[in-house]
Symmetry: C2
Subunit: 353 residues, 2 copies
Amino acid sequence: MPAGAAPDAAQAAPATAPPRKPTVIDVARAAGVSPATVSNALNDRRYVDAGTRESVREAARRLGYTPNLRAQRLRTGQADSIALLSAMPFAVAAGPSRLGFLMEIAAVTATLAIERGLALVLVPPLDQPGPALQRLGIDGALVLEPLADDPNVAHLRARGVPVVTIGRQPGAENLAHVDLRSGETATLLLDHLRAAGARRTGLLIGGQPRNSYVETEAAYREFAACHGMPALVRRADEREGEAAGEAMAAAMLAEDPALDALCVPVDAFAVGAVRAVRASGRRVPEDVRLATRYDGLRARNCDPPLTAVDLHLDRIAELAVELMLEQLAGAPPRVSLAPLPDLVPRRSSVPAA
Amino acid sequence: MPAGAAPDAAQAAPATAPPRKPTVIDVARAAGVSPATVSNALNDRRYVDAGTRESVREAARRLGYTPNLRAQRLRTGQADSIALLSAMPFAVAAGPSRLGFLMEIAAVTATLAIERGLALVLVPPLDQPGPALQRLGIDGALVLEPLADDPNVAHLRARGVPVVTIGRQPGAENLAHVDLRSGETATLLLDHLRAAGARRTGLLIGGQPRNSYVETEAAYREFAACHGMPALVRRADEREGEAAGEAMAAAMLAEDPALDALCVPVDAFAVGAVRAVRASGRRVPEDVRLATRYDGLRARNCDPPLTAVDLHLDRIAELAVELMLEQLAGAPPRVSLAPLPDLVPRRSSVPAA
DNA sequence: GCAGCTTCCTAAAACGTTTTAAGAGGTTTC
DNA sequence: GAAACCTCTTAAAACGTTTTAGGAAGCTGC
């Protein structure tokens, strides 16, 4: 900046108006009332004379007044933003397996949040959760399908930030979450496969300690016991994507050649499983029926398209946001039950008509 | 509330401690210093004696003090967060066409932002941009491929929020943006198609006033003139997704049966175009070569996989964040040039070896 | 003529932080 | 021995809003 000019100009002549945003005080002055009345008038609170209200509004409009959010929030103590953390690496290899899932949740959550005056902060997976999370101005956090010992959740809870998880955290007590009802989802898929003619269904799930896998496996074992079916459960590493699914499915088919169906909740694995089935000389769905969980682009674009379930992610996101608002309001953690998913039958389990 | 009980209880016995969050004042009292010193000690500002600093830190830790972000933000005027707005509808039909694109940008941007102490707020497309955006506490906004008269951009600029667009806004002056070099991208694709044997290439772009289409069309017309090729440009409505692409591609093939290639930047349209080509009894790529722009799940999952370009979205996001930081620091708007994209040839333009 | 109710409005006190301006000691410099 | 300059600390003033606790005026009813 120029050396001698500034101080004089600033002191002597505020001729060129300093471009300060108008405040409630400016509006009050302009309308000839008190700041309190301006606040009441603009927020439809208390008794304010209709004429006064109009003139305040008019003054506010004329001055281009917009309330200072930070002041408003300090005063009211209301939340202004929540975070959405994915426990799953953002780019699972180059194959965006969970990307669709996360993104759908993010999209719906962002919409709901914004309608309630909350901003949704997207938090990518971090090497060091601590330092970066700390400086994040959030009032609460939504965590998607956390692992048993999720460091993000631990950090947030230690910090006293309200946490709501979508899908229960294995082993966690007293943590608000939306119960995804993975057991029932699994049963839905298994029943469908059976109705489609399957008599021997294998289960292929992910290797990380996620609650949905635990529940899915339990439901599967019960289903197997119920129907006198031998249980075959295998795990593959989610980080390896479709290839891991293909390899493990091939191993399962080799191990038990009588398998006539595979329940594969992880969509990337399911796509790999289709390849494995074909590589073994069998057909989908005539010889081996397939079903997966998340009905995303991957399931739909697969050849044949994969039978999946509509999890009603919009509703799930809504429940999560509700739980979050409750906690922000000081209520104790609570559990919400997600709606039961609906089956979306496709050609991977039922032959084309 | 009960009539007689409350006042007595409140006045006489705060036996059951009111669970109030500790403030800077509590810490000051505990450490035997003033609030100002607490602030200075915790934020490494000014001269604070090392011993004092430590005892303040200790007191803060003991009391479980965390600064009130709303107060901090009111005082400093900073929100430490920027928004990412997609100008494109979030769920383009049920097929998340741009979802991958936006998500890739969002993931990279979020990571970069967080490393710089900024939170990334995800803003979904809104029916009424005004009211919701107004309630958003952000310091700046990144807008993805804005339309010519984008209401979000208008709103933000009117509000005085620094805006950086990814892809120039058609018609906008003095707006910081990352130049996506869509013209050069188009030329890259057209050259590739020609090298693959195409002699008559049609162009199918989106109908909304987006700068990338303008540049793409210009590059195409120049290419056509250069090679003495008749120009055939058609537009389809992005909101209709693959179906619109299929219908328009079919119309183009009918109109000019000699077409032996289609350049289709919108990936959803390109997938539709594959179907149209086949429906007309032709083969991809032997009879009609196809190329699209964004190399996402859609392009890869298509049958045959679509030739596309690697836009280097990570670098683009980085440039955008840089521009944003500059503006936040008070620098004037500036333009950054994205790196040139790299071709990713696939079977939609070159037959399998 | 005053108690009690309404309706409209306001002064002042929050909310919890950072910053400003200044003060208290102490050391150095002329 | 006063002026100048450190280093450390603090009281008080912001930041811009909402809320609290009344107050003033105009009624009604006795």
